[in-house]
């Protein structure tokens, strides 16, 4: 039972790393990045091709993943979302264009990855890192799981502190409440947007590399399934809230692990969608979500 719990928390931490940047970007600068899953997968793939030629330790691989994720995310923001926002003053309309632009970006990245990996799963067996298992009291825990737990909780804590206490974090939250007033108060929206997307990309890259270490190998299509799980985690917790993403990721991972171990594997994918549905019906703004005024 404890083993199941540890596995669930590890999976939850990976969801957390992945969904954190996406949630903050969606909740503050209003960009729901559909290319996030592809960014995540692409970072792991670049790290894979680098490690085939240069043998690297784990920390270098994680940094490399973060760097690739940052670059991809910044490029997506600058070349796609920024151009869409500049041409669309209507927010609702722009929202849809952003979704479509993200889908386009995602399919470009996926196609490139499928081309280079020939749609075969890839792993980091060439890295110097070796998996070891420790006995901590009654439970077995591997060093990969430890790294994932520490990275996820540490980075989530950092993000929560930064959003709450730093001056730039306050500015970012101000954009989330009212972009126009925030601009009038001297917040540089496009610079904040670029910074948020860069951080989100870095988190996606880290998650991609760590997931590959954890599972042994991932495929080009792994990004898509992670994207849907991340939606569920974000909606569950409430958009834009760090505590919400942490709660949402953990609940989702626990529910999925329980269904897989107690029921059958074919129902596991229903958990994420079922949770999205139930939460939206009973808690439309998620567990930690902000209330919003509605008149129709």
């Amino acid at each position: 039972m404890l083993e199941i719990l540890i596995n669930a928390v590890t999976l939850g931490s990976l969801y957390l790393l992945f969904a954190l940047g996406m949630s903050v970007a969606w909740g503050t600068i209003g960009i729901l990045n559909f290319a996030h899953g592809s960014t995540f997968m692409f970072s792991a793939m670049v790290a894979y091709f680098v490690v085939q030629t240069v043998t690297l330790p784990m920390w270098a691989m994680v940094l490399l993943g973060a760097a690739v994720g940052t670059v991809l995310s910044v490029l997506t923001q600058a070349l796609v979302f920024n151009l869409i926002l500049r041409r669309n003053p209507d927010l609702l309309k722009a929202e849809m264009q952003i979704v479509v632009g993200g889908i386009g970006t995602a399919s470009v990245l996926l196609a490139i990855a499928q081309h280079y990996t020939k749609s075969v799963p890839f792993g980091f067996s060439a890295s110097t890192f070796k998996v070891a298992t420790y006995q901590l009291g009654p439970v077995h825990i591997s060093n990969v799981q430890l790294v994932i737990l520490v990275a996820a909780l540490g980075l989530a804590g950092l993000a929560a502190w930064w959003l709450k206490s730093a001056r730039a974090g306050l500015a970012l939250r101000a954009i989330g409440v009212n972009p126009e007033v925030a601009s009038l108060m001297g917040v540089d929206r496009s610079r904040m947007a670029l910074g948020t997307m860069a951080a989100a990309g870095a988190l996606a890259g880290i998650a991609g590399v760590l997931l590959t270490y954890y599972l042994g190998s991932i495929a080009a299509e792994t990004g898509d399934s992670f994207l849907i799980s991340a939606f569920a985690a974000i909606i569950l917790g409430g958009i834009g809230s760090v505590a919400g993403v942490v709660t949402g990721s953990m609940i989702l991972a626990l529910a999925e692990t329980l269904v897989v171990t107690q029921l059958s594997g074919t129902w596991a994918s229903a958990v994420a969608f079922g949770l999205i549905f139930v939460v939206l019906l009973f808690l439309p703004r998620g567990i930690f979500g902000r209330k919003e005024v509605r008149r129709t």
């Binding site: 196609a111 081309h115 009212n178 439309p284 008149r295």
Partner: protein, 314 residues
């Protein structure tokens, strides 16, 4: 000509089926409702028609009719369920609805054939029948794009609060859109299942949602003509891009990105804007006071109102 028709029959049929699928996303979108439930109805319709044909050997129109009716009812009930949601939240709930239908189909046991799906649903549906249904649907939708009904639909999309205060039943109209969307999606799914004689849970996935959305956005989301343009482009583009060889999918993605950036109103909107510019220039040359295009003015006014009130709500 006949040779070309026979060689491309599958693509021609696919164009019309995709047209109906795109419409199932577009109808709610015209009312400002961001719903993908039509794609779920596509799966629902495909399974209903296939099961009816396999078990009871009913004629095609009965199978399709039953599928359409069932999906319309399910769509209406679904709209009651998600009545409190809007925007991207609603979109997410409908994506969940679509994927849950796929999971139910996978776990449906004997009724849905599990992960393998259903085979051998032979029926008397012809290509002519598909085209006839599409023409009827297009005519009916064209009727909603003129006169008072069009103005009501545009008002609900641009400013629900204002429409409500003007006595337009926003909620019933939205529920109607869900039912119509369900019917259209089921019609596409049922006809696809009967033409291909098979249906499997793999067909109803995230990519079908993406395809339906891109067809509408790139064709144009305001009129059935836009959905038709989109369905023609996205049915034929993959075979056209075959000349790009290995980079086909990359080119496909780049086209979607460029369309999202440079054509916010879709191809149809682009053509309309160009046409209006040309006409505006000509009429300006004839009379100093050009006859005002009341639809353009109306839309500008509604947009101005919509922009203001949205700022207020936030």
């Amino acid at each position: 000509m006949i040779g070309w028709y026979e060689a491309n029959l599958v693509l021609i049929e696919a164009t019309f089926l995709n047209f109906l699928l795109a419409l199932s996303i577009q109808v709610p979108l015209r009312l400002g409702v961001f719903s993908f439930a039509g794609v779920g109805s596509y799966g629902l319709g495909a399974y209903t028609a296939a099961i009816l044909t396999l078990r009871y050997d009913v004629p095609a129109f009965v199978a399709i009719g039953a599928a359409v009716l069932l999906a319309a009812v399910v769509g209406y009930l679904f709209s009651l369920l998600v009545a409190r949601l809007n925007g991207l939240y609603l979109a997410m709930a409908t994506i969940a609805f679509v994927l849950i239908i796929a999971v139910l189909a996978t776990n449906g046991g004997e009724l849905t054939g599990g992960a393998n799906g259903l085979y051998g649903a032979l029926s008397d549906l012809t290509t002519g029948g598909v085209v006839a249904v599409c023409v009827v649907v297009a005519v009916l939708l064209a009727l909603t794009e003129r006169g008072p009904l069009r103005r009501r639909i545009e008002a609900v999309r641009e400013d629900p609060e204002l429409s409500l205060s003007m006595g337009i039943g926003v909620v019933p109209m939205r529920q109607m859109a869900f039912a119509v969307s369900g019917a259209l999606g089921a019609c596409a799914g049922a006809m696809n299942a009967l033409l291909r004689t098979t249906v499997s849970p793999e067909e109803i996935n995230f990519h079908l949602i993406v395809l339906a959305l891109t067809m509408v956005i790139i064709g144009g989301s305001r009129s059935w003509i836009g959905a038709f343009i989109g369905s023609v482009i996205f049915t034929w583009l993959p075979s056209m891009l075959a000349s790009a060889g290995r980079w086909q999918d990359v080119v496909y993605g780049v086209i979607i990105i460029l369309a999202a950036i440079f054509m916010p109103t879709g191809l149809l909107g682009l053509v309309q804007t160009l046409y209006q510019k040309l006409r505006g220039r000509r009429s300006a040359a004839v009379t100093a006071e050009a006859p005002a295009d009341d639809t353009a003015e109306e839309r500008a006014l509604l947009q101005a109102l919509g922009g203001e009130s949205r700022g207020g709500v936030q």
